[in-house]
């Protein structure tokens, strides 16, 4: 890679791309391959990289194409519209029919989250919680919250509308918090 991108940046971006690929593909080997192909493609095209988008957004767009190739080989996947539709139908597991929190899903006070993040076991739970949600939803969450991408860039890169994006982020956040509460934070009311 040329002088524009140093080793450290590359290592960080690689790690982030891997997290994104894992959220979508759920297979460490496939994810590794997709990221490797992405970096090779990026290296070849680096002269075409325009500073108008961030390096990260540009790499993510290449990775999305690589994963799309993989999926074409693997068969059909559920379109975003179907996921959003099923999410907006009144089937949220966290709320009762009148829209109140279900007692067991009720958000509680989490004790010492700052201590949790120091423990490797916590991150194992965190990772598993990302894997229990639909890959389409997990990937939006990872782009937004782990990679810190803007909503505009996410919508453009994934080809989804802002409103679908916000439904998916809500699903992801609600699912993750519920999963962490159940599996790590016992919590008090």
């Amino acid at each position: 890679m040329n002088g524009k991108i140093d080793e450290q940046t590359l290592a960080r971006e690689r790690r982030h791309l891997l997290m994104f690929a894992m959220a979508r593909l759920r297979d460490p080997d496939l994810a590794e391959d997709a990221v490797q192909e992405t970096l090779v493609a990026a290296l070849r095209a680096v002269d075409r990289f325009e500073q108008r988008s961030s390096l990260r957004t540009w790499l993510v767009s290449i990775l999305i194409n690589k994963m799309a190739d993989l999926r074409t080989r693997q068969g059909r996947e559920i379109p975003v519209e179907e996921i959003v539709k099923s999410a907006s139908e009144d089937d949220d597991p966290w709320f009762d029919e009148s829209g109140r929190w279900e007692p067991e899903a009720m958000p509680r006070v989490w004790s010492s989250p700052e201590k949790a993040v120091e423990q490797i076991e916590f991150w194992g739970v965190f990772e598993r919680c990302l894997q229990v949600m639909s890959p389409r939803i997990a990937e939006v969450f990872v782009l937004r919250e782990v990679l810190g991408e803007s909503i505009e860039d996410i919508c453009k890169n994934l080809g989804i509308s802002a409103s679908n994006c916000s439904v998916m982020l809500f699903r992801a956040r609600a699912s993750l918090r519920g999963c962490l509460q159940r599996n790590w934070f016992i919590g008090v009311e």
Partner: protein, 74 residues
């Protein structure tokens, strides 16, 4: 009174765009009366910090397969 379901969605939306004045007002009124949604709001901030930290963990670089299988001394 808004449903918790709508308020939770609003809290989530507020992490991605500025809420309107009307939304902020509805939110504040609901949060004064609802502990569940107040906790949800706090958890959303905690979640955001956790997610950033998840992305910055250098050990995830070494082997993201090892994490969570209890085979590391940390």
């Amino acid at each position: 009174m808004d449903k918790c379901k709508d308020i939770a969605r609003m809290i989530s939306d507020g992490m991605d765009r500025p809420l309107t004045l009307g939304e902020r007002l509805r939110l504040r009124i609901h949060l004064m009366m609802c502990r569940g949604c107040s906790n949800f709001e706090k958890q959303m901030q905690v979640l955001r910090n956790m997610a950033r930290r998840f992305g910055e963990r250098p050990e995830a670089d070494k082997d993201n397969r090892a994490v969570g299988r209890g085979n590391s001394s940390g």
